[in-house]
């Protein structure tokens, strides 16, 4: 009989969709009641996330097969899926509460639609984690990426619409690449004949397809533009959970990359092609990690800075994945490290993004201190300060990649430098938030504190943010120790609190602080550089857009010329043809009109009779 876990698995996907259906169908009733229904469902939407939460917490294994759906889909929860789903649950739950648990007056415009899109994204997101085979993964991935467009466009400002346009173009490219990759993958596996599988092509397609989502360098351009455009709760989810779908895609489907047995039959993919691809990915990841810091520091908008920090952190994670590809032996270890780090980053980055509005509304007065501590804690976690989840994540990943050296320098020396980069970014973020807070402080004072009861139900964003911060502290340890430990990472055991481990976590941060201090002292003005197109948010994007525009103008001019000339050619030949037929018809009419008169036809008849008689009589002669 279907186990309770299978039912929970099905419910966790179904509940959100039911909520979305209610919101959508509310449109049929009249205006006012529709609005009330939508608001009620939005408020209740965090509950939709509950079954998934129960599933991840209670069970560690779940299996559900739906033979009739599409080509027969299967859902399966294993360790990484369980961890990532839990993070998704926390983040989406927080985001949903942040949006809906606010006073009706300043609720987001069209909050019903926003929570609906969030719920669909949630279904798609956990769908990608829980998918057992390529098809269901692709279904979930498409649902997630196209409904995410709904989040980015929410404010419908010009910037949001540009961001969505770019986001849609990039996601269409990624969808098509993944589709082609999956078809090749499935036929190769089904075919099973060794060595013939187009490893290079499959790996390249999947790298590109998931690279777009995971923000690896050349394909990251949409991220710094899209995340800030979305409402803060949505960008928390975008950065925290959705980016991880790219990661799980790599882990599950890249040939020989993932630890699970699925794609790695012995000998199906030839190894050194995968290794070279891993090398390329590693280079791009490191480039991304450090370039993002340089670009992020000069930005003006705090959310863009956070976006760049996401790109750099994802660079860190994809470096881990790349190592897994280069050295198949380490695949299991690096995968676990990547997942763990993803968990940590998801929660920390989510806390920061959720924190942005919280700082604005509750930054002062009684809650001010609480906000300050929370934000500082999250920032330190992201930077990887000791005793925080960040340190734990970094420590696990460092141990996983000890032996690898890049251009002579050990990888485990390079990775900590990413920490310095992120400290710099976070300093910049802190400065911008403080600056922004100072300007709005004067106006915010007027908003007097309302009664405690009202306060409870309307402080959604504050509570959700607090919840994420607390989770950020506890959950990564929990997952690291209990969930992942048994399967993959047996030998590291307890993390040692030895002074050397603490110092390893500390020196990058100190270095970052030092550089930041120097910047403040020398009062480097960042404004002059900001205008340069390269430093606009999405850096390469501006260049690409102008390039695309120019090439589109050029080709369309050429094409129109081609079409005009072919149209002219066609009409000319058509005219000549009709002249020809006309002449032919005129000719027949003229010859026929000869017969019109009596004498004319009489003559012809005479000739015919003469021929008949003559040929018959003398016919025999020939």
């Amino acid at each position: 009989m279907m186990g309770t876990e299978a039912i929970l698995l099905g419910l966790s996907l179904l509940m959100p969709l039911v909520a979305v259906a209610v919101i959508a169908l509310a449109g049929t009733v009249n205006k006012v009641r529709a609005h009330r229904i939508r608001r009620m469902t939005a408020m209740a939407s965090p509950l939709a996330v509950l079954p998934a939460a129960l599933l991840t917490v209670i069970f560690d294994e779940a299996q559900l097969d739906l033979p009739w759906l599409l080509f027969g889909t299967g859902l399966m929860m294993d360790a990484p899926a369980r961890a990532l789903t839990l993070i998704a649950v926390l983040l989406y739950g927080a985001a949903l509460t942040a949006i809906s648990w606010v006073k009706a007056r300043d609720a987001e415009r069209g909050s019903g639609a926003l929570s609906a899109f969030l719920l669909v994204c949630f279904t798609g997101n956990i769908g990608t984690y829980l998918a057992a085979d390529a098809l269901s993964f692709y279904l979930a991935f498409t649902v997630m990426s196209f409904s995410a467009a709904g989040l980015v466009i929410h404010y419908r400002t010009e910037a949001a619409r540009r961001a969505t346009r770019i986001y849609l173009i990039m996601s269409v490219i990624s969808e098509t690449a993944i589709l082609a990759g999956f078809i090749l993958l499935v036929t190769a596996e089904a075919g099973g004949v060794t060595g013939s599988a187009p490893t290079g092509l499959v790996t390249a397609l999947l790298l590109i397809g998931f690279g777009v989502k995971a923000g690896t360098v050349p394909l990251h351009v949409w991220l710094p533009v899209a995340h800030p455009a979305a409402p803060p709760a949505a960008s928390a989810v975008l950065s925290g959970a959705m980016v991880k779908a790219g990661l799980i895609g790599w882990l599950r489907f890249l040939p020989e990359a993932g630890g699970n047995t699925g794609a790695s039959e012995a000998g199906l993919w030839d190894a050194e092609v995968v290794a070279t691809a891993g090398g390329v990915l590693l280079a791009l990841a490191l480039l991304g990690a450090f370039a993002a810091v340089v670009l992020g520091v000069v930005q003006q908008d705090p959310k863009v800075v956070l976006a760049y920090s996401t790109i750099s952190q994802m660079g860190f994670i994809s470096a881990l994945v790349a190592v897994g590809m280069m050295v198949p032996a380490l695949a299991g270890l690096t995968a676990a490290a990547a997942v763990l780090y993803a968990v940590h980053h998801g929660l920390a980055k989510g806390a920061l993004f959720l924190g942005v509005p919280v700082v604005k509304h509750y930054g002062t007065g009684f809650t001010g201190w609480l906000v300050l501590i929370g934000m500082a804690g999250a920032a330190l976690a992201v930077a990887g300060a000791p005793l925080t989840s960040g340190a734990y994540g970094k420590y696990v990943s460092k141990t996983a990649v000890e032996e690898i050296t890049v251009l002579g320098i050990g990888l485990d020396q390079i990775l900590p430098l990413v920490a310095t980069g992120s400290t710099l970014l976070l300093l910049r973020f802190g400065f911008l938030i403080w600056q922004q807070n100072r300007e709005t402080e004067a106006s915010a004072r007027a908003g007097a504190q309302e009664g405690v009861a009202g306060w409870l139900t309307h402080a959604g964003p504050l509570f959700s943010w607090l919840g994420v911060c607390l989770a950020g502290i506890l959950v990564p340890w929990l997952i690291g120790q209990y969930w992942l430990a048994q399967q993959w990472v047996p030998e590291t055991g307890e993390i040692s609190w030895s002074p050397s481990a603490l110092w390893d976590a500390l020196w990058p941060i100190l270095l970052g602080l030092l550089v930041g201090l120097a910047a403040v002292v020398l009062r480097w003005r960042t404004e002059p550089w900001a205008q340069r197109s390269l430093l606009q948010p999405g850096d390469l994007l501006v260049a690409e857009e102008s390039l695309a525009a120019r090439s589109w103008r050029g080709t369309s001019w050429g094409l129109d010329a081609v079409h005009a000339s072919s149209a002219r050619l066609q009409s000319a030949s058509a005219r000549r043809a009709s002249q020809l037929t006309d002449a032919g018809q005129q000719g027949t009419i003229r010859t026929e009109s000869v017969l019109k008169s009596w004498e004319g036809s009489g003559l012809v008849v005479l000739v015919l009779v003469a021929i008949a008689v003559v040929v018959t009589i003398w016919g025999g002669v020939w």
Partner: protein, 515 residues
């Protein structure tokens, strides 16, 4: 049972003749009643004949006990049965139509000017029908000649019923018809002189022994040219268009549908039954084939250029005639394998009968429209379909038959012609058929589409000469009788599609009494 069949063979020819004589004595309305009664009875007589032929044997009737060569034998074989049935169907429908819509039978001059309807139509039409039946069933050349002359004479007179502008074409038709029959008479004379008998079967037997074929061949070629004139094969077709388009509404279908078929039947009798096909006759067959191909193309192109409906349909007749002669070379191919000849022969018959039904319907509809709207200019008939949906549907169905699209005898005929041509490796025939089909679709579309899809209030294609461009005004409201007339034409349209399913039945019928 056999007496009934033999009696009906004789009755088929003599009853309409008798009725023609009687009808001259009675008043106008009585003529219509007697006409209809005779039509129904004559059609009734065809049923036993066709039934016996369908069973496989060909009934014969020796008139007055005089056996050949002096006496006259009437033979009802496959060819006769098929044409009898087709003519009966069309004749009954057209007779009832003429009775219901007297205006369709022409105009007669009264002291106070021209009045619609011509009582003279009835005797002439019944005489013509008698002649037709005579031609189909007669077993000897002399009777063929008499039947042919009877049909020719009545046809010329029927054309002349159409009022002043139909006299000139009638006269021209007369001259051509008489010249044709005189040539045919010379041929018959030659054959009689050579074989000593007029009976077709006996003549063939004698001719097979005679080793010098020139006499037989000369007779054949003279007869062919004579009949070519009467059937209006291309160089000799100029009389047909004015005659058929000037003729009254009910006479044009009779002319195009039935009268020219008499010539064709005689031609087939002479070519296949009377004169044994000898090698020397090959060039004559190829001449006919070439003229047929030219007819198809020239007829279609000219039909494309017509701007009035009845000339368009008349030229379509000329094109369709081309198809029958196109098949002649296949009848006498050198390596005369058994497959090609019967295929080509049944193709000609199927095409002819299909044309009979379809052209009858189309010409009747065109004539009816000209009667109702006073003009048959396509541009001014634009939008006539709105008031006459059934009529336009009938025209559409008949167009299907004429173009040779599926489920019509036209299609069955073209199919057999194409298969025979492919069997005999004559690819040019297939090319002509394809071109003919497309051209036919072209000119019939040009004729019928504007009626069906009216946009009368469109001012952009205002004809310079006509003042008002509102929907063409029908002359007075439709009487019940005219409504019934319209349904009759629809019956012809439906018959075109219905007979489409009889392709293989006709083929089996033709097998009876083959040469």
């Amino acid at each position: 049972m056999t007496e009934l069949v033999e009696f009906s063979l004789g009755a088929l020819v003599l009853l309409p003749l008798l009725a023609a004589a009687v009808v001259m004595l009675i008043g106008h309305t009585a003529r219509r009643v007697l006409g209809v009664v005779t039509a129904v009875v004559t059609a009734g007589f065809t049923v036993p004949v066709v039934a016996t032929v369908a069973d496989g044997d060909a009934p014969e009737l020796v008139l007055g006990g005089f056996t050949a060569p002096l006496g006259i034998t009437l033979r009802g074989d496959g060819l006769a049965a098929v044409f009898l049935a087709g003519t009966a169907l069309i004749a009954v429908v057209l007779t009832v139509f003429a009775a219901l819509v007297p205006a369709a039978t022409g105009e007669h001059l009264t002291p106070s000017g021209w009045r619609p309807g011509h009582p003279g139509f009835w005797p002439l039409w019944l005489g013509c029908w008698a002649g037709l039946n005579g031609v189909y069933v007669s077993g000897d050349l002399f009777n063929l000649y008499v039947g042919l002359e009877l049909v020719g004479l009545t046809a010329v007179a029927l054309v002349a019923l159409g009022g002043r502008k139909s006299w000139d074409p009638a006269l021209r038709y007369l001259f051509i018809a008489v010249l044709g029959s005189l040539l045919f008479l010379t041929g018959v004379g030659l054959l009689a002189a050579v074989t000593g008998t007029l009976d077709i079967a006996q003549a063939r037997a004698v001719l097979e022994e005679v080793e010098d074929p020139t006499a037989g061949l000369l007779a054949l070629s003279l007869m062919t040219v004579g009949l070519g004139m009467k059937i209006a094969l291309v160089p000799m077709h100029r009389w047909l268009v004015p005659a058929h388009s000037a003729a009254p509404a009910v006479v044009s279908p009779i002319l195009s549908g039935l009268v020219i078929k008499a010539g064709l039947v005689i031609l087939l009798r002479v070519w296949l039954w009377a004169v044994p096909l000898v090698a020397e006759a090959i060039w004559l067959a190829w001449l006919l084939g070439a003229l047929g191909a030219i007819a198809v193309l020239v007829g279609s192109v000219l039909a494309l250029r017509q701007d009035r409906l009845k000339p368009l349909v008349a030229y379509s007749t000329i094109a369709q005639i081309g198809y029958w002669f196109l098949a002649f070379p296949l009848l006498v191919t050198e390596h005369d394998d058994a497959g090609a000849a019967p295929g080509a022969y049944s193709a000609i018959v199927a095409l002819a009968v299909g044309h009979m039904v379809a052209k009858g319907g189309l010409f009747a509809a065109a004539g009816y429209l000209k009667l109702r709207f006073g003009t048959d200019e396509i541009a001014r008939l634009r939008g006539a379909g709105a008031q006459y949906p059934a009529l336009i549907l009938a025209m559409g169905a008949c167009a299907v038959g004429l173009i040779g699209l599926p489920v019509s005898l036209g299609f069955a005929g073209k199919w057999q012609l194409a298969t025979a041509a492919v069997g005999a490796q004559q690819w040019w025939v297939v090319v002509v058929i394809a071109a003919g089909t497309l051209l036919a679709a072209g000119y019939l579309l040009r004729g019928i589409a504007p009626l069906l899809l009216q946009a009368p209030q469109e001012s952009d294609h205002q004809l310079p000469d006509t003042g008002d461009e509102t929907a063409p005004a029908a002359a007075g409201s439709k009487t019940r009788a005219e409504g019934a007339g319209e349904l009759l034409i629809l019956l012809l349209g439906v018959a075109t599609i219905g007979t489409g399913f009889l392709g293989s039945w006709i083929y089996d019928l033709l097998g009876v009494g083959l040469w």
